[in-house]
Symmetry: D3
Subunit: 143 residues, 6 copies
Amino acid sequence: MAHDIATVTRRYKFAASHRLHCDRLSAAENVRVFGKCNNPNGHGHNYVLFVTVRGRIRPDSGAVVDGATIDRIVNECVVKRFDHTDLNLDPGFANQTTTGENLVRFVWELLVKEMPDVELDKVGLIETRDNYFEYRGEAVACR
Amino acid sequence: MAHDIATVTRRYKFAASHRLHCDRLSAAENVRVFGKCNNPNGHGHNYVLFVTVRGRIRPDSGAVVDGATIDRIVNECVVKRFDHTDLNLDPGFANQTTTGENLVRFVWELLVKEMPDVELDKVGLIETRDNYFEYRGEAVACR
Amino acid sequence: MAHDIATVTRRYKFAASHRLHCDRLSAAENVRVFGKCNNPNGHGHNYVLFVTVRGRIRPDSGAVVDGATIDRIVNECVVKRFDHTDLNLDPGFANQTTTGENLVRFVWELLVKEMPDVELDKVGLIETRDNYFEYRGEAVACR
Amino acid sequence: MAHDIATVTRRYKFAASHRLHCDRLSAAENVRVFGKCNNPNGHGHNYVLFVTVRGRIRPDSGAVVDGATIDRIVNECVVKRFDHTDLNLDPGFANQTTTGENLVRFVWELLVKEMPDVELDKVGLIETRDNYFEYRGEAVACR
Amino acid sequence: MAHDIATVTRRYKFAASHRLHCDRLSAAENVRVFGKCNNPNGHGHNYVLFVTVRGRIRPDSGAVVDGATIDRIVNECVVKRFDHTDLNLDPGFANQTTTGENLVRFVWELLVKEMPDVELDKVGLIETRDNYFEYRGEAVACR
Amino acid sequence: MAHDIATVTRRYKFAASHRLHCDRLSAAENVRVFGKCNNPNGHGHNYVLFVTVRGRIRPDSGAVVDGATIDRIVNECVVKRFDHTDLNLDPGFANQTTTGENLVRFVWELLVKEMPDVELDKVGLIETRDNYFEYRGEAVACR
């Protein structure tokens, strides 16, 4: 029954450095496109990550999912991988820039198959206090 | 006309204690499922509640709804009921656990019929800074 | 491909004064409808504005849109217009009240045609810490 | 005994409009000194006020002061006076500008004699997210 | 040299329930003094704890103290003790109420002797978003 | 007169990468002292900087200092220097680690001689949401 559906969002954080740079662009184009985010020695952020799952409220537990399970998965697959690292050196970014857009999509890909009996609804990311990115897989296409 | 539709979210808060415990589970299972949230003497939270309504911007007032009316309803039906109480003793939780999921659904049920000429869009709840729950009635089913 | 779609939200702020008052209502009705927000000499807010765009993650840059371009547009069309002003004196509010609902719709109208190869997804506005408004154009109608 | 001393800070808020303007300065000087805060029609803020009292933890109640009493005093003397008003029209600002500095000092003066068996320690004020003012009476002089 | 002195504040959190009640007061007096905080079944909070230490910046590490050491001490002595419990059942509150004032003083007492080569400067506690308590031992007496 | 004294705090931000590493320590010691902050490729933060000045409220302007002047100085001397850079490559950190303690002290040194007719009171820095550093020059010694 539809009335059993809720979403649960859990918040995580990781501190990482990165530099926005695209090998296919010239140095001048990189500066034009990425501005100071292309500064040669990189910079960093305290990333805040929101993982939202969506599912049926289970009658026994009253929960959509066991929070500790989600925490374990996100910490294993995402936080440990990125926390206190340079994102540009991560293999997942070998062929793409470390923009917030690519980062939320990559986090989605890392998590979507790991979800235990619950649907991954969206992945959100605060990069700076004035910058937020969100990715919802295919769902967003049929808004 | 579709262009008249907006949503308004108002924020409320209440402080309450609770304990996650399911009578149908054994003591050991309760610990496994709920972890420290099953500690025998309960604990508590500063809950932050977001009530979102959705409707036509009325030409005269320029408002979707009179905010004071929403405040009165939410305070009467929800905040007064839960603020500075033990949620586990509330009759609405006699047969279900006081999880965030059950709580947002219960708040939805308390509010949905009270809405004055405006549609209840969603109910959100922050339980801790890393934990957020959301319920949208049937709407969520046809995302 | 649907998997290329993400949203980007950028945050802006402006401080402005306003007074909720509708010429078509009597003085008594204005007080009843708007309460203290109808106080004759106005009051003010630190408005926080969220502009969300939605589009394809471009393969080269890894971005949905150039953030600096969005910033330039929003600052030119919205922030400069409203920051450190009295909203009631803005021509856009000559015939409508300066409610949060009218304000998010007006910001949408100011921005929607300026978007560079990207879709305006929603406009959100925090008026006070307990008050949030959102407008999505026609999209909201087919939720 | 010194070990009985603690401070308690309570937070309040009020929304008000103001304009920074000094009659003793020329129009050009006003613009130079106050910038856009001197814009003719004023603007506004969501002010956040912090009132800190300091005193002995009373053995019976375990409190330095009855919070409800402080709330009543601050609401009566400050919040009601300023909330949803134009600060420039307040008699207390007839001869001084409505800067954050003058405002915290004025709030201090309004409150310091009303304190019930407890010492006013400091008054803090957030005007915008990037702007905070603090006043401590004579205490600050002997830092 | 004085120029080597800095303070470091680290933030912790715990969720707990409590009830303000003083055995030496009558039922009526308890209600009068503590209001809804005296409700019979208790309520709860997400407490946010700030522990500030003060000391010399060590030339080698550039740190006043090893943050991991402070974390271990505060987690062992305070967070584990209070998180997901009913404060009223803690032995430390057998003879005193669980007010914010008594709580910050008690946290100070739990920590002050455990500090490793660094001075405990102050203990702060947010109980609700409008309520903050601070304790500084004897230091506060000679402001 | 003491009653003229107030403090003004202004908030700034910069995103930077860094790595905690001390050349005088062995690799093993560096890991022991700095933990994951010593990871070889560095990481990053969204730093939030608070600059507090203290002085007489000037009768004409009602301000302790011209905010735009402080902003210009802090932006020139600090924000531009550190924003979107790798702190470890800054000449100021050639001989000291990029800890929060060294960073607030260094910011103090960059600013203290630039202050225009106003006293620098303290420099505060948020490195992560659970980590805050503060430096007050000699003042802190005579607490």
